[in-house]
Symmetry: C2
């Protein structure tokens, strides 16, 4: 198996400069308090908690005396990415001690009932959105300096003194996004469930569109390549913010190694820093993002700049095709495909390589690249090898190192390795074999399944899947779509606790793309 030898990042400052010339303007919106709520245990609800109106009406909040141990929960009525503001006064005798507050900011009520100290997962606990704050002098306008992703804020008074109480008034959020919701006309369709799913998708995308297409504003503010591809597609159907896609393309285009690999993600703050994580399929999909962008914009300058980068990444991947004509990832350059460690990814990798090559040849044609024929040749041989060596005629399914899994079929369908009729049959067979889907927890994989259904003439099944998966999140109280969701295992977290999950996550925003493009 090939292994990565030397790999040194070669940053292209000129490309970074172009990326920064396309920095978005950040729009602010003032979001007022909608209501105060209280939480009660309820095993029938997501996270085991039921939301109800608080006894305190919001118009009486400013008169509510808050003393040691008192808690209130603010509900802003929508998912917000931005900064929290509160006005706080002291009431009673002169303020003879500081005010000490504990704030928890949550996207879902489920987060509020989990003790932060109980989290011991592998991802950093520093992402849990909470603060302990001392305030020496009241009245004050408290403006928390950090940006959070939240709808709910629990405020616990750790202490005042026996002489005075704290009173909170005029809470509001200043939200941040590179786009505004009114830039997209809401869908008006007969199917109200799809209409709602479309709206939540757009809100999810909106909240992830910041200085770059963020992965998830609560936690991971990096730019990820695999997520960028899906966000860009959803963006073309909705906000049409081409500058932000261009910025992100140049951030990756300026971050390629001496051995032609693009990192899976790039850090933006405090300075542009390519991560040391490399995923073969993400690197391969750079060409897809470029091709989708050019198809939308016809931006020839960007294509001229980045086409050579796209070629290098695909060429490098071709070096990993073994003697049998099948792509072989390696430990130092793995395939992602999905979080599931159970899925064998060999077939998926092969399909993604072919998919990437098919994007590349379309661009090669535009660029009148003499290598066009070479790439077309590669597609034929790789496709033939796939059918000959990976497809089980009897089962009618692709087999990945002896394993049958849905990812393999879906990516082969999307790569259109088989003629349309057989492609349809492959998907028929996949439905009978793998539906209802088990063991998949990422909207990223669900998106590709739904898209494969739509591209293989399975519209009804696609709509059903979208409703069963994304629709179910809405039933459970989602204002935005989640990083991870396994319908059969509601408490699933890739990190071991619901408190750390991101409930507004880039790669889950795609239903608006699927609905508006295919339906």
């Amino acid at each position: 198996m090939t292994q990565v030898k030397s790999s040194i990042m070669q940053k292209n400052d000129n490309f970074y400069k172009i990326a920064n010339q396309n920095k978005p303007h950040i729009y602010n919106e003032k979001i007022p308090l909608q209501r105060l709520i209280q939480l009660k245990p309820d095993d029938t609800k997501f996270g085991g908690v039921k939301v109800s109106e608080s006894d305190v009406d919001k118009q009486f909040l400013s008169k509510k005396d808050l003393n040691k141990g008192d808690k209130i929960i603010l509900d802003f009525g929508q998912h917000c990415v931005g900064k929290l503001n509160l006005h706080i006064e002291s009431h009673g005798e002169p303020m003879d001690s500081p005010l000490y507050l504990h704030l928890k900011l949550a996207e879902l009520p489920a987060e509020l009932v989990i003790d932060s100290a109980s989290y011991h997962g592998w991802i950093s606990s520093s992402w849990i959105q909470e603060e302990y704050i001392h305030i020496d002098e009241l009245p004050c306008d408290l403006k928390l300096p950090r940006r959070y992703a939240f709808r709910y804020v629990e405020i616990e008074v750790k202490d005042t003194s026996s002489k005075w109480s704290a009173r909170i008034s005029n809470p509001f959020v200043i939200s941040e996004s590179a786009v505004t919701m009114d830039a997209v006309a809401p869908l008006k369709i007969a199917d109200k469930t799809l209409e709602k799913i479309d709206a939540v998708s757009i809100k999810t995308l909106h909240d992830c569109m910041q200085d770059v297409f963020e992965d998830g504003p609560k936690r991971d503010r990096r730019l990820w390549l695999g997520d960028l591809r899906l966000q860009a597609l959803a963006n073309y159907q909705t906000f049409k913010d081409y500058g932000l896609v261009k910025r992100c393309l140049y951030l990756f285009g300026g971050s390629i190694t001496t051995d032609n690999r693009i990192p899976a993600d790039v850090f933006i703050q405090p300075k542009i820093t390519p991560d040391s994580v490399f995923l073969l399929d993400y690197s391969l999909l750079f060409v897809a993002v470029l091709k989708d962008y050019f198809w939308e914009t016809k931006d020839q300058d960007t294509l001229n700049d980045l086409y050579p980068i796209a070629k290098r990444t695909v060429n490098e991947a071709l070096n990993y095709v073994d003697d049998s004509g099948i792509l072989e990832a390696c430990d130092s350059w793995k395939l992602f495909v999905d979080w599931s460690k159970e899925i064998d990814k060999k077939v998926s990798g092969q399909a993604i390589l072919i998919y990437a090559l098919k994007q590349l040849v379309q661009l090669a044609d535009i660029q009148s690249d003499p290598d066009l024929n070479f790439y077309q040749q590669k597609i034929s041989t790789l496709s033939a090898n796939s059918v000959n060596k990976l497809f089980d005629q009897q089962k009618g399914l692709f087999v990945s190192n002896g394993q049958l899994n849905i990812a393999s079929q879906v990516w082969m369908v999307l790569a259109h390795v088989l003629p349309d009729e057989e492609n349809k049959k492959l998907m028929d067979k996949s439905i009978t074999t793998f539906f209802p889907i088990k063991g998949i927890a990422t909207p990223y994989m669900y998106h590709h399944i739904a898209q494969a259904l739509l591209e293989s003439d399975h519209r009804t099944e696609a709509v059903q899947l979208i409703k069963d998966y994304w629709g179910k999140m809405i039933e459970l109280g989602a204002d935005t779509f989640w990083e991870a969701f396994e319908p059969d295992n509601l408490n699933f977290s890739p990190y071991g606790s619901l408190i750390i999950n991101s409930y507004c996550h880039a790669w889950s925003c795609t239903p608006t793309y699927l609905i508006r493009k295919y339906l």
Copy 2:
């Protein structure tokens, strides 16, 4: 017993204006890290903890990788009142999560080994000096916005991530005070213990001299009248900052009630606010602060402004003299004298009234006040009543509602109710009866005992008392003198935990006054 009827605060904005014209300039000093330390349990040490050098030398601090759960303790080598600054960087892979820190700032190591959550005393836990801080981007220069009183800072890394470590460098404090230490020439005397006690007294006073004479910079930043009197006396022997005393005199002078009572304390921030706490002896002692100030400065304008206020407070106290010619405090206007609830305070109150009258007549003489004779008359009758009704000839001691206590004798000595010879005998008797002293925990009362010894020709005993009390604090590791200290009960706290005690407290700074004035 007389009770307070109507009492409405009448603020004098003109006096407050004069107070604000005398706002001090705050001097800043940059205090570097002295060393890193570690703590080990040791029952023979104060607070049960022993300090030793850390394995990490300060010159290697900036190379020390700090990960989840790691702790370091910074020692700035002296008591500081000011703001903490740290430079923090990330080291390793790109910073893929916020840094989460827990900081504890302590005047003494004993505070660091007490879990904040274990404190349940009646004073607010919000005074415990600790912060939880998230930092989203490194490197950063962390400048904590709050002012603390501390020598030690424990920094615990709550979390980084598995990919990077935190590194801390260049910690320093910007200290704050209305005066500078170099303004006072150190005492050069043969007795090195007294020399050291004098130096620690001056440092204590220095750290409490801020925008006003603070009570204790760690916790209570109010201006207290009883403490002001002692701080002003120590200040006259050392920094000679007359403007700050003038400012404080006008803050109290501008805060008198319709029934002629001055509050025990005044809040300065966010705006000048007289407290609703009234103590009869503190109100009476306003005249003493004014007289001491005038004796030092000959500031006739201030005397002209505030003499009428001083008269009103003394006159009002005279209304509380009962038919037997003895002062009777009441529930709504108590006597402080000392924290001890066991001490009966009747005799002390009577003595303090006489003491106050003796200050007043000296000012009345300066002001050519026709009421001079009236006040001299009062002194005679109140003194006579004291001897006739409160002094037990047989015991040779004053008896307070049937109780013998040292406070009674000490205040009668300070009021010089008896002729000098008998005054000396009274103190002889007090020494044989009450020494070694039990049940007194405030430097405030110890000061008056020491001063009574010095004013009754007991120099040797006074020196011994100062060494046994203040000297003992130094032995236990005091950089500044403490709010409360009971030599026989080292864990004594008026609030139930050493973590909340103030270890740099105004009323404990007086040895420098006693040494420099009397010795």
